[in-house]
Amino acid sequence: MEMSWKLKEKPPYQSAVDRVLGWSRKYSIFPYPFITACCGMEYMSVASSHYDLDRFGAGLPRFSPRQADLLLVVGTVNHKLSPVLKRVWDQMAEPKWCMAFGACASVGGPYNNYAVLQGIDKIVPVDIYIPGCPPRPEAVLDGLMKLQEKIQNQKHDLFWK
């Protein structure tokens, strides 16, 4: 006999679950800032009181990937560092999202050489890209709101598989 706690089919209240979980998850994003380069200054300015990431419920950076929901890759990632990034992503617990902050994290930015990974999407799945070198804080907030929209419209499983 198959012993499974998983629901065999979508329960009738699934859409309500999606809405409620989406709403609660989008306002309680715990970011893990993976900061490697100059974009980090911009992250600090976004996170501090003038632009205030906390208004969107993302104001509590967790410095352990186990406690984080959002991997914020801020800055240039080079090939030597890429195993570290991959490992941090693998250590994060579901549900998790990833944001490429700035041109370097998105596509390698101004660097096309032996050292720099040409975009973190080569090794981790990215949910949202923020362009700019570095992006303005407004652009980051816009990206965060787009991510919240994405989380709200996502399907959420009550029991994460």
Binding site: H79, S82, A115, K122
Partner: protein, 176 residues
């Protein structure tokens, strides 16, 4: 001492080392055969009048089609006398340069960087390993025959990577 004085001083003091000294854009430059390099550096560091106690930098130049191919460049500074000197030495590909770790301990990492980037070995160095790049890296990226965008990823990319490798025959390097 200002640049001309250093040049005169070096010419007087080191007659037997085959030095070629000049003032280039207000900066004292000495070109020395690689066999005499270790002796010259030792005197520059230890003699009171010269007193080059600060090892600022060491780097190299790849002249690709010139023979010998590489030029190793030292920058020295004296905090006592406030004067500077640039020392150049020419080395062939695969030729060793004597280490200066015994004189200035910071030369340890700087020489490792030169090995990493140009593939020039320093004989007598205690730990001749790559400094900045990873051990799996093949080749030396600041050599002119290394394609400038050739990548050696450590993590297997999840989807095909765009073809980026430059054809080095088409790349014209401007040389004065």
């Amino acid at each position: 001492m200002i640049a001309d004085e250093i040049v005169n001083k070096l010419n007087d003091r080191f007659t037997d080392l085959g030095l070629e000294c000049k003032v280039d854009k207000g900066h004292a430059v000495a070109i020395v055969p690689v066999d005499n390099l270790a002796g010259l550096l030792k005197s520059l560091k230890t003699e009171d009048e010269l007193g080059f106690n600060f090892f600022m930098d060491i780097t190299a130049v790849d002249w690709q089609e010139r023979e010998p191919r590489f030029e190793v460049v030292y920058h020295l500074y004296s905090t006592e006398h406030n004067h500077r000197l640039r020392i150049k030495t020419n080395v062939k590909e695969g030729q060793d340069v004597p280490t200066s770790t015994g004189l200035w301990s910071i030369a340890d990492w700087m020489e490792r960087e030169v090995w990493d980037m140009y593939g020039i070995r320093f004989s007598g160095h205690p730990n001749m390993k790559r400094l900045l790049l990873y051990e799996e890296f093949k080749g030396h990226p600041l050599r002119k025959d290394y394609p400038y965008d050739k990548q050696q990823p450590l993590v297997e990319p999840t989807w095909p990577v765009r073809e980026t490798q430059a054809k080095m025959d088409d790349v014209k390097i401007h040389r004065p």
